[in-house]
Symmetry: C2
Subunit: 505 residues, 2 copies
């Protein structure tokens, strides 16, 4: 096990590397491009070996600043470098080929190895693609879920925990900013952890961050949430499911896949970690969502409730209409504005209704309302200002301005509107096109960027009337978003020709 001295080298790349002099590599019989473990007293990382003859002296290993800091080592400090052995658990992964059903301890060793950085990206893809191509049984999904939770941190509350989760897929879904204060206002504990945008223009954490801080430690959450009854924080700070971060980042995003079993395990491992007892699960359904047909959504709902039953989480799944964005605002700042409007009685009814329905389901689960009466109780909370009051309290304890109003929120200064090319009813409004245009305008990184939809499906518009307005904080990005909009045609009007196809070459 050769010992080399650390030298920081100014190269930035996602996958860690170890840049070593070719003479040293010859001596220690390691080839370039080999996967090695670099181990300090405090930590170890897996690196790919880069070879050089003049950038690094013999006896040294060049590491990026980030790798050095992960290893907690300074320059000239010694680290051990040794060839990574192929993890034994990879044999379990391979057995999937013969239709092998993974046992609990097999899944646990795989999860352990991935979380301990023992798998290369290719090896992780072998695990993820086994799920993608072959699917997992409910037993396997359960073991995967509990193993994933085991390797993350855990929040332990002394009382029942309520939660709302949306499987995502539609832009503008800011309902958590209405649901959490509504449910908390009724006294139920709802310490909601949420994600940042992965493919969408804004995740709940991105939207909430417009109003206040969302980075809290588990100790802080355990202290604050029981008092306010609700929080809206970013789950990423908490390291709830290390496997998830690795798999999503290194395989699922690059390949653009999200295997069913991994999606379920990903959601539910975090519910296990955060001690959720009652969950309302929002499943946006329809063309352009993750569940294109109602049958897909129903199957998914049954699987989720069954998985919940096995994990001791009571679940009610709600299929929601997802063929167009929810509400009118897309992008962190615009969505935060709209959420504040809704709890002040000024928002679009679609956001109000969906928030009340989902909050109401939690009220019914908690016994606060009779079956079928939850939504109207929730509507009362919103209409009577209790939701608003609770939201102000939450924003305050999370370090924001408790008295913030929708008008206080800055949005992109460069704007331009898309206008109707002719008279007609809107028959389609594409989630996918809206997402892409919003991202071109700068979301989710630039919180002020986004889209405001003046018209939605079923609305009538006159030629030249505004369909939507794009917001950006740079003229260049606004132009890009406008160009994309011209290409993607997010709105389809009745009678509009979508594409013309000529015969011939």
């Amino acid at each position: 096990m050769p010992t080399l001295k650390v030298k920081k080298i100014d190269i930035d790349v996602e996958k860690p590397f170890a840049l070593i002099n070719s003479q040293t590599l010859e001596e220690v019989k390691i080839k370039h491009s080999t996967n090695v473990k670099v181990k300090s007293e405090k930590s170890e990382i897996m690196c790919e070996v880069f070879s050089t003859t003049d950038l690094i002296l013999p006896g040294y290993v060049g590491l990026s600043k980030e790798s050095a800091s992960q290893l907690h080592v300074k320059e000239e400090k010694k680290v051990n470098v040794f060839v990574r052995r192929r993890p034994v658990s990879l044999e379990h992964v391979k057995q999937k080929r013969e239709g092998h059903v993974w046992k609990e301890n097999e899944i646990r060793t795989i999860v352990n190895d991935i979380c301990s950085n023992n798998y290369t990206d290719l090896e992780i893809s072998m695990f993820t693609l086994a799920q993608y191509y072959m699917g997992l049984s409910m037993d396997e999904i359960q073991y995967l879920t509990t193993s994933m939770a085991e390797f993350g941190i855990t929040l332990d509350f002394d009382e029942p925990v309520y939660d709302k989760h949306s499987i995502g897929g539609i832009p503008g879904n800011k309902v958590s900013l209405v649901i959490v204060p509504t449910v908390a206002a009724a006294g139920l504990l709802i310490p909601k952890t949420s994600s940042r945008a992965i493919t969408s223009p804004s995740g709940t954490a991105d939207t909430m961050e417009v109003l206040c801080d969302v980075n809290f430690s588990s100790d802080e959450i355990l202290e604050i949430a029981p008092k306010t009854r609700g929080m809206l924080v970013w789950g990423g700070t908490l390291d709830l499911s290390p496997l998830d971060e690795i798999v999503i980042h290194r395989v699922e995003q690059p390949l653009g896949i999200d295997p069913h079993s991994q999606m379920l395990a990903s959601i539910f491992s975090k519910k296990v970690s955060t001690g959720v007892d009652y969950l309302v699960l929002d499943i946006p359904t329809g063309e352009g969502t993750k569940m294109p047909t109602k049958d897909d959504a129903i199957d998914y709902a049954h699987e989720a409730t069954e998985l919940g039953r096995r994990l001791g989480i009571q679940i009610e799944a709600a299929l929601s209409y997802g063929e167009q964005p929810l509400g009118k605002a897309i992008g962190p700042a615009l969505e935060a504005r709209e959420a504040l409007n809704v709890i002040s009685g000024k928002g679009p009814t679609s956001v109000f209704e969906k928030s009340a329905e989902l909050s109401g389901i939690l009220f019914e689960m908690a016994g606060l309302a009779q079956p079928g009466q939850g939504a109207s109780l929730a509507a009362d909370y919103i209409n009577k200002g209790k939701t608003k009051e609770k939201m102000e309290e939450i924003i305050g304890v999370q370090g924001g301005d408790a008295n913030v109003t929708a008008d206080d929120i800055a949005v992109g200064q460069f704007t331009e509107s898309i206008k109707a090319p002719k008279d007609g009813y809107i028959i389609k409004l594409s989630n996918d096109a809206i997402k892409k245009i919003a991202k071109a305008a700068g979301t989710p990184k630039h919180k002020e960027a986004g889209i405001y939809l003046h018209k939605k499906i079923g609305d009538f518009c006159r030629e030249g009337e505004e369909l939507m307005t794009i917001y950006s904080n740079s003229e260049g990005r606004l132009t890009e978003a406008l160009n994309l909009s011209a290409n993607l045609n997010p709105y389809i009007l009745e009678g509009m020709i979508i594409k013309r196809i000529k015969s011939g070459p």
Copy 2:
């Protein structure tokens, strides 16, 4: 499409990179770790973006020597750098999940994209693992085979071409060095292309290279082979199947997998490329081979012959005993020696018999012998010195010493023998252990390294008698091989205790 100036940078790593100043990256809106295409006037490659603040000036792109030479560019020359688009054909790959059967044009676009370097390693794994997990239909295997052949070079002879192929898996399988001259001596055209060792101690090309050159262009083969009737060359020079090189190197070897369909397509695409009409296919069978059971081997033989039928190649498959190495010599030099011994009437009968059997099948296919008579005709060719005479001619035209004898061939000067720990019959001789020990001794890189087996399965040995001798050209590697041998126990003697397991912690 930004234009940057080339700067060579002294970093050696398998996967091409483009090292760019972070300021430039900001300007052109490319993130580190993105996959980009770097394009010169003559060529283009796919690179991963590394970012730096001081190793490369703004406006430059740092490339490895190898990348610069692949692009045919010198320092200060301009290249274009642009973000790679995810290839559209990846959608076909993904469809495999729903049990989609790939159409011919879908497979062709996938193969085209991979050969054109449009796929990342992860994306290739998605294609290879689809095969691994889901399997392919015979139609799909056929399309894959012909597409793979299309993207490589082709050899066109004006007469029927004969060939022998072994699917590999056992060490010491040097029969091609006997079969090719035997078949050529009878006047049949057998321009055999073969591979170098991938996991074995010596590929046919490695062994032949001990005796003469094996690197020939397609023009040279087309000129020489019709005259000598036989050649033994390395297929790697010929670029017969570019996809194969990419897939094997970048996914199959790192993951240690070899999907059935890819293995068939890999073999047969090269047969199509080299214009093979008649093929005898050697399938070593039994524990420790690629075909552990006879049923596996028979299934494989049926698939191979069916694929051959579709491609217009007449095939006879021969299942051979593969539970121990073939003959007594393992490693390039030792195997070349043994092959010369066999054609001089002095080699082990197992090599002689197998060579005669397989040559005989080709004789029968060609109508030179009645069914069942081929092997004895082949034995005649060997016994009467015709094989030897032809081999000398082939070695001569391939630039070697036509009069070479077994004794002329140098083998490793550092040797040590493993001795029997007790009296007994040998009941097992592990292919896998022998491969690993031979590789530790230096094969296939060091041609003089290897193993000579004094005893084989069924032999009786006295305590202290030599079982095998290890050859190496370095004392260090010899010690490593000896240590490995002590760990791996390549020989099992009847009544020997293999492992003792105690109860308790």
